[in-house]
């Protein structure tokens, strides 16, 4: 297993309980508790089944690179746009300076921003592809993410090949202010242009897909698939509850709810995603 896959964000803390945290994170190295049913699982076994709980089939987060590796033909993925790095156009600061937040997140994750993009082959067919790195500031979309998504479609346009995106994002990154918002327009314009080559854009919504990402390129897929029980929607549940001052019904904004309401094409188990995407490309491209 490559090093980046097992690497967990380091817990940096001056807390007296640090020793215990350390021990916990060491345990996490070998064993994982299912987020849903609580079953204790051997990590190596879990990774073999792409982080889907064998006991309850709950779909736990699957890191972007591991996902692309599992999906694409072995050795076919070529990552591009790797030189892109975020800036701090507003000089933004809350409890921490945005500049420092980027720096420490980059160091902890070994990633420059919240998106990985490139080209690869899916069952021998070239695809322009990208996936959110949710671990990087909640997969929030700033200028770098917007630029990479735009390039996925520009490359698909140039190569006249299908585009595939995996979304896992809370939405626009507020630390980049208006520039984050404008990525919604930029990416959507790139999709508008891409339509001319008549190749499919397959959009896969993972947990969670909300806000400005949902309200731009994620929902513009020719076909939209979702993993089971992913949270998908425009406004976050907390915002809605605060606005309407009532509790939201069980299952609201989950994949199954969206399928029921005609908002997505299908819910696909993680193990079946590869074959389903390949099937659709065969039928559409």
């Amino acid at each position: 297993m490559p090093a980046w896959f097992s690497k967990k964000p380091k817990i940096l803390s001056s807390d007296p309980n640090e020793a215990e945290l350390e021990r916990n994170s060491r345990m996490e190295g070998l064993w994982v508790k299912c987020d849903d049913c609580g079953e204790i699982l051997y990590r190596a076994d879990l990774e073999k089944v792409l982080n889907v709980c064998p006991a309850c089939s709950h779909h736990m987060a699957l890191p972007a690179r591991a996902r692309l590796n599992a999906l694409l033909d072995p050795g076919s993925f070529e990552e591009l746009d790797t030189g892109l790095e975020p800036q701090d156009p507003l000089g933004f600061s809350d409890s921490k300076k945005y500049r420092d937040r980027i720096k420490s997140t980059k160091k902890n994750l070994g990633e420059n921003d919240a998106f990985v993009s490139g080209v690869g082959k899916l069952d021998g067919q070239t695809v322009s592809i990208g996936a959110f790195i949710f671990e990087f500031m909640g997969g929030s979309m700033g200028s770098v993410v917007g630029e990479k998504v735009t390039r996925v479609f520009e490359r698909a346009f140039d190569l006249k090949c299908p585009a595939i995106l995996f979304h896992a994002s809370g939405g626009a990154r507020m630390q980049e202010g208006i520039f984050s918002l404008m990525q919604m327009a930029k990416t959507s314009a790139a999709i508008s242009r891409f339509r001319a080559v008549k190749k499919p854009y397959l959009s896969v919504m993972l947990h969670p897909t909300t806000g400005g990402v949902a309200a731009s390129f994620a929902w513009l897929g020719d076909v939209i698939l979702a993993e089971p029980k992913a949270l998908i929607g425009f406004a976050g549940p907390r915002v809605i509850e605060q606005t309407i001052r009532q509790k939201l019904p069980e299952g609201f904004q989950r994949s199954e709810f969206l399928l029921d309401h005609g908002m997505i094409d299908a819910i696909v188990q993680r193990k079946d995603l590869k074959s389903r995407l390949a099937q659709l490309i065969g039928l559409m491209a």
Partner: protein, 322 residues
């Protein structure tokens, strides 16, 4: 222009009090025997100076408040002042009519155009009907229908942005709020007619952008445009909604900020004290600016307009590396 005190902002009050005093003296002068003209002249001078003091150096939070001022001209006020022959069109043909976003054909200097904008209400009752200018998916779908109509009949599109944001409610989610906004972004990118978008008050996030993808993006001087409201930003970042003032500063969301960052094309100057102090003058300035940009865009054909819009939004973003 005398304004009611009930809707006045705190920082406007000293000015309004002074103006009230002038008004009182004036009515005494005209009705009575005593001549206050000397006094009035002095006070008027003072009021002018005070106005300059208050408004020459507004902080961002004050601009946020001005952008939401309940006396501020709304979309329909500008329609009535700038356009003639307005024919409002309703409904998304799918589910319902949404009065928080409205539009229709109208004439601009005699030339047929499509106008479209968020509409807030001034009274509580009207605001209930207009949902405080927060559209549901059907509002965005109606907007899309009207923009496609405009494209079919080769009419330029002028949009006017003034919303706290798209409505976050159960029904809105069930009917695909995110999808409705996303589709508008794509449709707008491909419109073969001139599109000019002006933020006239509040530009609240995706709900604003959904009618904001123009060849030109203008902002009224005291308007704002932001990825998130300062209140929401503050409750997320500082876990405290009362830090909105600080959040407004961090977000750099005023028209002036956006012009400096080259995100918008031009600032439309407002009368001293804000558009609500002299709506006619504000409308005149807006009309003049729209006229100029529409004339420039009218020389481009459909393909050129689409390419122009693409280049504009393609360039937005700040990062390093290739």
């Amino acid at each position: 222009m005398a304004l009611s005190f009930t809707h006045a902002l705190d920082f406007e009050r000293p000015l309004l009090e002074l103006e009230k005093k002038i008004e009182e003296l004036r009515s005494l002068s005209t009705s009575g025997t005593v001549d206050f003209s000397n006094e009035i002249g002095k006070l008027e001078k003072k009021a002018k100076k005070l106005q300059q003091e208050i408004f020459s150096d507004l902080n961002r939070w004050q601009v946020v408040q001005l952008s939401r001022h309940t006396a501020r001209p709304y979309f329909l006020d500008y329609v009535n002042a700038i356009f003639t022959d307005y024919a409002e069109l309703s409904g998304d043909r799918l589910y319902s009519e949404d009065p928080s976003i409205i539009g229709g054909f109208a004439r601009f200097d005699g030339r047929p155009v499509m106008v479209l904008g968020h509409q807030k209400g001034r009274s509580t009752k009207e605001n209930m009907a207009r949902n405080f200018g927060m559209p549901r998916p059907e509002g965005y779908r109606k907007a899309r229908r009207l923009m496609e109509l405009a494209a079919r009949f080769e009419r330029p599109i002028l949009t006017f942005v003034d919303t706290p944001g798209a409505y976050p409610g159960i029904g809105a989610e069930e009917r695909g709020q995110a999808e409705a906004i996303a589709v508008n972004l794509e449709v707008m990118a491909g419109l073969p007619v001139p599109v000019i978008s002006t933020v006239i008050g509040e530009g609240g996030s995706g709900g604003a952008l959904a009618i904001g993808v123009g060849n030109r993006v203008l902002m009224m001087e005291n308007s704002i445009y932001s990825v998130i409201s300062p209140e929401a930003c503050s409750s997320i970042l500082y876990r405290d909604a009362s830090m909105a003032e600080k959040a407004a500063d961090a977000l750099k969301l005023t028209a002036r900020d956006l012009l400096e960052m080259n995100v918008v094309d031009e600032l439309v100057p407002e009368p001293a004290g804000g558009a609500h102090r002299d709506p006619a003058k504000a409308a005149e300035a807006l009309g003049k600016t729209l006229r100029k940009h529409l004339a420039a865009l009218s020389t481009m054909n459909g393909d050129k307009l689409i390419a122009d819009r693409y280049a504009k939004f393609r360039a937005l973003g700040v990062f390093v590396g290739k």
